[in-house]
Amino acid sequence: MTEEGACRCDAEISNPYHPWPARIIKITEESAARDTRTFELEWVDPDHTARFQHRPGQFAELSILGAGEAPISITSSPTQPNLQFCIKQMGVVTTAIHQRQVGDVIGVRGPYGNCFPVEAMEGKHVVFVAGGIGLAPLRSVINYLLDESNRSRYADVSILYGARSPGDLLFKEELKQWGERADVQYYETVDRAADGYSGRVGFVPALLEEVAPSPADTVALTCGPPIMIKFVLQGLTKLGFAPSQIITTLEMRMKCGIGKCGRCNIGRHYVCIDGPVFSYEQLLAMPQEY
């Protein structure tokens, strides 16, 4: 096409479907059920380290050539040195990833999606309410806020976290660290106890009711199984949180991750472009089909 052509394709553009290679440098078994692992990656091409700058809440398409791709939230904060993904084995691609060992190379495309509104949250109290693997995407924001370069710009930080059993609690070492910090209130619960566990027993919504955070100058971030989210939203509303004060992150079946393939929409919004982070206020205005 000439410069007068109707098609706006003058500049050569790079291939957005081409994954960048990253080497697995660490695998952490997170769950006693052995179905959830954190993969820590390092870029094969050192250039990519500077070029891949993500914000808390974004995701990437992880690629195994021969199996396919899966959208996984980035669980590491941009303040941490290496990219981390916490992956539950669920289908073809996540099973293929779980079969990888330290030293293997996988593909990464991203960062995609929007992010948690960490600037708008400054000066406020922040309450995290997480269940099960829902902690994985929230962890990127938690570690971002708790980083010494950021912590002072946020007020009180509370973390409410629950899993099915003590063995299912993710990031166990980090949970201990959060519990020991003076500038964080950490509350934990499990659906059912096990030998050696002396902590709280009960569902996350019950924990929320017990802790009863005040909505004054507070933002609540929540993620977890759909049933938990449903009751947490009810609980937060009952405590006086307005829908604009509650933020969550959604999952959806995706393929391209860049808003072209048409698969991940809720109404006019594509979860890969306009999400995955949405406020409860935004969700209420969207069709209830997700």
Partner: protein
């Protein structure tokens, strides 16, 4: 840039001259319909059918496209060769040109641009073709489409009297193609004006589409969708023949450790389109999928890309095995708005 004329009887030899320098794609007879196909010889072009059974989108967004090739063991991938020869796409009706425009907005605009679409698009020169009379299924008169003109094309041919095409030269690349054609004279320009003034008879009244966004707003839970979806089989034919539908799948295919990552057409009408690995599916019923299709094309795409995702080409109307007519669906939605 001077406009040209081309005798209809000279079309085949014009295309033969182009074939010396370009790959030429044009409608080619397939038996009971035509399809856009690369030509070996100019005489293969077939304009017996008003338009090919599938739209021009497949020239830029093919049904199957190899994204890259790989070896499983090394996890290294290799992209396909980039396009070497320019393509001339001849015989694109205004509805399909409008479709290309809509696909340009989706694939090339926004935070990310599709390099595969862009590669084919920028190496293709478009020759549009004006319509003489619409088919029963045509309804382009509902959209901002002139059946006898389009600025999207590099050259645009309008059939005028005495067996000629008036060839509007609309870009430098178009001019490079048409340089050896006879220049259009005043009498040809007048014949063009006369042709354009002749009204075209469509089979159905114009639907007031500007009222559609209002008619679709707040209709998400309307029980009307169930009625609309009742006949639909979910076969996805409408999405495949449509110039503006753009949904696709990406899958990996391997054979003995060597494979490709391939992009293929997909459809929101397909039951597993939105199925999660967990087993959860936001759209389990055909009613939800029909609602999604209509709202996406006539509401969401307009919100996001600025144009309705439909050009009134009527292929879906002609191809649907149960005669579901989208014009009737839209009329019903408009008639029942509160």
């Amino acid at each position: 840039m001077k406009d040209r004329i081309l005798a209809k009887t000279d079309l085949a030899s014009f295309l033969d001259r182009l074939l010396k320098r370009y790959r030429v794609v044009a409608p080619v007879d397939q038996g009971e319909y035509s399809l856009f196909r690369p030509l070996q010889r100019g005489e293969e072009v077939c304009l017996d059918y008003l338009k090919p059974a599938r739209s021009a989108k497949e020239v830029f967004f093919p049904q199957n496209e190899d994204l890259f090739y790989f070896i499983e063991q090394t996890q290294k991938c290799v992209e396909p060769e980039s396009i070497e020869k320019e393509t001339v796409l001849f015989g694109v009706r205004p509805c399909d040109l409008k479709g290309i425009e809509a696909q340009d907005r989706l694939f090339l605009a926004g935070a990310f641009q599709d390099s595969y679409y862009q590669n084919r698009r920028k190496h293709t020169i478009l020759i549009g073709l004006g319509c003489e009379s619409p088919e029963a299924s045509c309804f382009c008169h509902n959209f901002d489409i002139d059946p006898r003109g389009s600025t999207v094309a590099d050259l645009f041919c309008v059939p005028i009297d005495n067996g000629f095409y008036y060839v509007s030269v609309q870009s430098k690349q178009g001019e490079a193609l048409a340089g050896d054609l006879q220049e259009a004279g005043a009498e040809h320009a007048q014949a063009l004006e006369e042709t354009k003034r002749r009204p075209l008879k469509f089979s159905a009244e114009r639907i007031p589409l500007e009222e559609l966004p209002g008619a679709l707003a707040d209709r998400f839970d309307d029980p009307l969708w169930e009625e609309i979806a009742m006949r639909c089989l979910g076969c996805s034919t409408c999405t495949f023949v449509c110039p503006t539908c753009h949904c696709f799948d990406i899958t990996d295919e391997t054979h003995r450790g060597v494979g490709r990552r391939v992009r293929t057409w997909d459809s929101c009408a397909a039951p597993k389109f939105t199925l999660h690995a967990s087993g959860h599916n936001p759209r389990t019923s055909n009613i939800q999928r029909m609602r999604q299709r209509i709202l996406h094309k006539f509401s969401f795409f307009k919100d996001n890309q600025g144009v309705i995702s439909c050009t009134g080409c009527g292929r879906c109307v002609a191809a649907c095995p149960v005669n579901l007519d989208i014009r009737e669906v839209l009329s019903e939605l408009l008639a029942t708005k509160t």
